[in-house]
Point group: C2
Chain length 456, copies 2
Amino acid sequence: MSLQIGIGLAGLGTVGAGVYKHLAQNRALLVERLGLELVVRRVVARDLTKPRAGLAALPPASILTKDWRVLIDDPAVEIVVELLGGIDTPLALIRAAIAAGKTVVTGNKALLAEHGQEIFALASAQRVPVFFEASTAGGIPIIKSIREAFIANHIVSIHGIINGTSNYILSRMTAEPGLDFADALAAAQAAGYAEADPTLDINGWDAAHKAIILASLAYGFWVPADRVFVEGIEKISATDIHFAGELGYRIKLLAIIKAAATETGQAGGPIEVRVHPTLIPKTHVLASVSGVFNAVAVRGDVVGETLFYGRGAGQDPTSSAVLSDLAEAAFALRPANEQAPDAGADLRRRCYGFTPHGLYGACLPLEEIVSRYYLRLAVDDRPGVLAQVAGALGAHGIGISSVVQPETHDAAGRAQLVLMLDRATHRQVNAALAEIAALACVHPPGALLRVETFGS
Amino acid sequence: MSLQIGIGLAGLGTVGAGVYKHLAQNRALLVERLGLELVVRRVVARDLTKPRAGLAALPPASILTKDWRVLIDDPAVEIVVELLGGIDTPLALIRAAIAAGKTVVTGNKALLAEHGQEIFALASAQRVPVFFEASTAGGIPIIKSIREAFIANHIVSIHGIINGTSNYILSRMTAEPGLDFADALAAAQAAGYAEADPTLDINGWDAAHKAIILASLAYGFWVPADRVFVEGIEKISATDIHFAGELGYRIKLLAIIKAAATETGQAGGPIEVRVHPTLIPKTHVLASVSGVFNAVAVRGDVVGETLFYGRGAGQDPTSSAVLSDLAEAAFALRPANEQAPDAGADLRRRCYGFTPHGLYGACLPLEEIVSRYYLRLAVDDRPGVLAQVAGALGAHGIGISSVVQPETHDAAGRAQLVLMLDRATHRQVNAALAEIAALACVHPPGALLRVETFGS
């Protein structure tokens, strides 16, 4: 009989139930590949009788509990899998698990984005590994790839479509010209791709939590949430989808993480982390990532351009990531005599999940972030308007790379003026916009969107 | 000062020089992330004075040698990196390194495809890890992803564009209608994307070596080369590129690895491994992988559809993979007291690089492989021809899903007849083809290509 490793599963929601299901269904394969058996010793659930999606039968009553402290107190639980959702209870559970020397696996992106620094400091001090592949991009092994496969790379940039709900909505709006945001959101909800309360998905913060995790891994320090520029997709209109298409772009909710200095082969300097609707060239591979799929493009100074694609959410793909972490966690569990401090201790730093280092450490102030822009304005249809707008932009040092002024007018008889702006800081563009908004010939609402041309 | 791990680098060709270069350039980053230093103690090269691409200066003469046995005899070399190329010397080196208890990192796909079974049996017996991420798809972490990230998945299928030279040639032929194979190959050679002797790239065997490695990892046994169906791109004509495009397909040299039974959630049963020019729908994401880029689509029974994309060859991307393996190898090196047999020994099986298991074990006989097909025939332009061809196909149980007979004729006044055939075994199609070739109305040459519709 093979060695058994005991698991305490906290949470029997969509992902928790998926992990429980696949541990049973693929047990033989896991035993063959791991040389050990992962055995669920305890399951924490808020409701002990509710049927669970994907599970023909609930776990036996003898292992079901409402009290997460049971996982801590049971010596047969060697790995704690946190899939509860929320912040306070998961944080208490993970603190207690680390203090008790139990390995932790979590898929909680919000928790890591807010408390990652504390969690990994505790983990390192207690020599307890913490795994979190399921926190970002579902079944795509992006955590493992950045941390392990690209370990010898300075990360030049990461561009990710990492919120499936937003991507589904924008894909629908692109496929059905004229479809507005509210209808596309309703379609996403009807299709089961958006929750009843979709706030965090559409306001960009779900993607921002994941971007914080990716950025922190790439650059070796925990990025504070208030240094992340976040804008959601709520204001994207059918009009902007249309003009973007005319100009050769698609609009995607993109997470962008960059260390400008690495483009020249130098490490260090400030990094930037942002999430916003972004015009990207139709020809770029990310433009063809449709529906609920996720994709993350990583550029390293050694490996060059790479891209990872797959399902970013859902019971099965996310379970695959949790199970991968469970396998790693089981490998990391060594007999007690190997856990003692020894000459090889520093070799295992990475095993605690996150290795802080001093090569980077600061985020660019949000106002200093440089981008290209798409600017759409509703203007009076008379001579001199473009000159006034261009004048305000020019006064703030912003160049115009192209102008489109379609013949059509809106209901109020106003013309749409669409400008593609050259690279400028947020500060410059905000100042120019304030000036433009004050012009008598310009009427709300308009749209300012960022444009990413991937280094060109 | 951090712990040092000594490396013996065998080979100072394109990739070897890249590894040497990046170990120096990204030293600070590696020390920060690893908590140890990778130090090159010895370098083996055939020519000790020749300048090397990417290296401003050769390694110091004190560590340069022509004799690989120096790596084995030097106790300061803990990891042997085999980047020599060829078979006999690398095999002798790796055997000796394993016997001496040194960790091995290799990028030698041909060696692993031919001798993987022996190498990993030795490695397991001697408890020596062997790493080989650089053997397949350059900087794309496909080995790590299949072995670690998808450890809980039965692999349903793998579809890979894993030969950059072939993909460059086919991309050129697609982009430039009428360009024939010989001219596209010459263009690839001029651009540095094909070697003076491109045989293994264009006859499919470079991709087949990689397919053998991927299939063996996915299914837990070493696939014999004579159970792999391999066809190169030498006979692809501008005519077939054209007709494929008309029908909604692109032609790619695809490696296809499948275990048919896993589609129904069952493990086991025979697998199939094949490399051939393949018509794939233009809308599939693999169709947009152009030029020298590689991409591997992996479908797992838990994770669903995934795709990995990046540069599959070249000094830098391949170096990134070697350096990732070096980092893993360094982590796996524990103080001697942890290397002794102990209760945790079976936990480390995976660390030896390849974990054989008994869930699969056989390849489908090549004649039993099922595919859809594209069949182009040069035929006399008269009534009854299609009936004869369809009759021969029908006699072998092969259905026709569509027929195209363009108005144009070739120089000899013959018509082109293009048929898309339903699913049939190689045996069926070969038998039908023999019958068709014997028809008086059919004239050589024609073309038979396989069509992949990804499960539909």
